[in-house]
Each structure stands twice: as structure tokens, then as C-alpha cells.
């Protein structure tokens, strides 16, 4: 989940979207709110700016379930400002550490 903890009725708090979640809606016969359903299913990434889209083999995306074991992945990182560091963490352990990604360019990292 992502939030800002600001107030609409105050003039000097962060903008309402300072922390936001980008969600893939989930529609099925049991859902009345596809956005909420997508949120609960983890079909999202949270950010204060950069776009991080992550996918694995066979089109698996965030919130989907995969088999255990080694997987190929693709990470796209796009930001309006330079990114000092990008870390890929697997099961709580640092797997890959990328540094100094330039702004306004989509970076695609594949394994």
C-alpha cells in the first residue's frame, strides 16, 4: 500500500499523490471494485515517482504466483530524475544492485 498522510484542507502538506500505488485492476465474477481487488491481490507497485514494472517468465507480473526455483525476469525502470540505486531483493536477500540509472530513459534489466 502507498500513501502520503497529508490533508486536503491544509495548504502546506505533500501533494495527494506523493506516494502512490499503480494497480492492475482485477475483474472477475466476485469483484465489485476491480481496483480494490487488484490492490488486495498485490497486482501493483508503489512509488514516489519512478515507474518499476517487473515481470517474470511466461508473463508473470506483480501479485501473480509462480513456481519456486530459478526464473527469468525483466525489470523496467523509468524515472524523471536520476536513480542512485536500484536493488533487486529475493526472499529478503540482496540479489542485484544497480547504480546510477539516468533519468528520462527506460532501463530494461533482464536475466
Amino acid at each position: 500500500m502507498s500513501g502520503t498522510d497529508g490533508w486536503v484542507d491544509f495548504h502546506r502538506t505533500p501533494a495527494v499523490e506523493t506516494g502512490r500505488a499503480c494497480i492492475r485492476p482485477l475483474k472477475n465474477e466476485n469483484t465489485t471494485d476491480p481496483i480494490l481487488a487488484g490492490t488486495l491481490a498485490g497486482r501493483s507497485f508503489v512509488t514516489t515517482g519512478p515507474a518499476l514494472t517487473f515481470s517474470m517468465g511466461n508473463g508473470i507480473k506483480s501479485g501473480d504466483i509462480i513456481d519456486s526455483g530459478k526464473q527469468e525476469y525483466t525489470l523496467n525502470v523509468t524515472s524523471t530524475v536520476d536513480s542512485e540505486t536500484v536493488k533487486i531483493i529475493v526472499n529478503g536477500q540482496l540479489y542485484k544492485h544497480l547504480r546510477a540509472l539516468r533519468a528520462e530513459k527506460q532501463h530494461t534489466i533482464k536475466v
Binding site: M1, S2, G3, T4, D5, G6, W7, V8, D9, F10, H11, P14, A15, V16, E17, T18, G19, R20, A21, I23, D33, I35, L36, T39, L40, V46, T47, T48, I89, N91, G92
Partner: protein
């Protein structure tokens, strides 16, 4: 995010819609917020407003400083009391915990979704000996015992790095219990 906190003007959903259009934000879930006994926006908890591609659904933040703050989505009514803990004015029984908030959110009543909001303030390891007491008291147990628990990873004033440090231990506890 909150609609009103007793600021300069009393905002309405239409005011938030303007901000959403400016920020290209499609969905907003402001949480009715209390200033101690003043339960601001209590009358619109559950209200839904839609304009074109923009949607606002009014939730609630239950703010026990001792147990940790909980954001509630998909509400039709407010949880009461709005705050409770040993160090603050008591509105009713002091024997409450966030488990009661989760029971309200899930069991029998309103089908809401509960999220621990702004949980970790520092970037480092949240389980380090000198900061471990800062983890909201019931966050780990609620995350393991409740069928669904949200975690506000990104917030304007707390640490996404420290909060992300909660996730893997949470999942490992769950895996141990499932096993």
C-alpha cells in the same frame, strides 16, 4: 491521505477531485481522521464520489499510538473508539487492541481491509536492537494471524526501506506457520 484535519478550510470530496485531476490520480481513499475527541468527517465514512475517471472512497484511520495506526478501506461505518491506548484519554474500555480493529474490518460486519500505516520511520534494519521497539506493537502478530493485512510501504514521512525490511520476516513467519 486525509480529507480534513481541522485545517484552513473544511474540504469536501469535490476539493479532493481538483487535486486528483492536477496530479493525474484516479483513485483516492482518504481516511477520516480524528483530532482527539473531534471525529472529523465521521459523517462521510463510506461515502463514494465519482467524477469521470476519478473516484474517492472515504475510509477511516484508527489511531492507537500504542498499538500502531490502522487505515481502513471499503467501509460502510466507522470503527469506534477512534483511538485507544494506555497513555491517551479512554473512550470506553481500555482493553482494546488492533485485533479488535481487524475483527471489525473482517469478521461478520463490514468487509473492510485493514492496513498498518506509516509503520517504520528509519531506513535501517527495523529489527536492530536499538530500534526494534519502534515496530508497531501488534504489526508482526496481526500480519501473521489475520487473513489479510496491508502494509503502507511508501508514505511521505516514513521509510520505505525500513518498512520493506518487515516484509521478508513476515513472510518467513507465515511460511513457518503454514508448514
Amino acid at each position: 491521505m486525509h480529507l480534513n484535519g481541522d485545517g484552513h478550510h473544511r474540504a469536501k470530496h469535490d476539493d479532493a477531485m481538483l487535486l486528483m485531476r492536477g496530479e493525474d490520480l484516479n483513485t483516492l481513499a482518504p481516511m477520516s481522521w480524528h483530532r482527539w475527541e473531534r471525529r472529523i468527517n465521521s459523517g462521510i465514512t463510506g461515502k463514494r464520489s465519482i467524477q469521470d475517471a476519478y473516484q474517492i472512497t472515504q475510509g477511516q484511520e484508527v489511531r492507537s499510538h500504542f498499538h500502531g495506526h490502522i487505515g481502513l478501506l471499503n467501509l460502510t461505518e466507522s470503527f469506534a473508539p477512534w483511538f485507544f491506548d494506555p497513555n491517551n484519554p479512554v473512550l470506553g474500555s481500555p482493553d482494546l487492541s488492533n485485533a479488535d480493529v481487524f475483527a471489525f474490518a473482517f469478521a461478520n460486519k463490514v468487509g473492510a481491509f485493514a492496513t498498518y500505516v506509516h509503520p517504520i520511520g528509519d531506513d535501517g534494519d527495523p529489527f536492530a536492537e536499538d530500534v526494534i521497539a519502534n515496530i508497531p506493537l501488534e504489526l508482526m502478530s496481526d500480519g501473521v494471524l489475520e487473513p489479510k493485512t496491508g502494509l503502507e510501504l511508501v508514505c511521505a514521512w516514513t521509510s520505505p526501506l525500513g518498512t520493506a525490511g518487515i516484509v521478508s520476516p513476515w513472510l518467513q513467519c507465515l511460511a513457518q506457520m503454514d508448514g
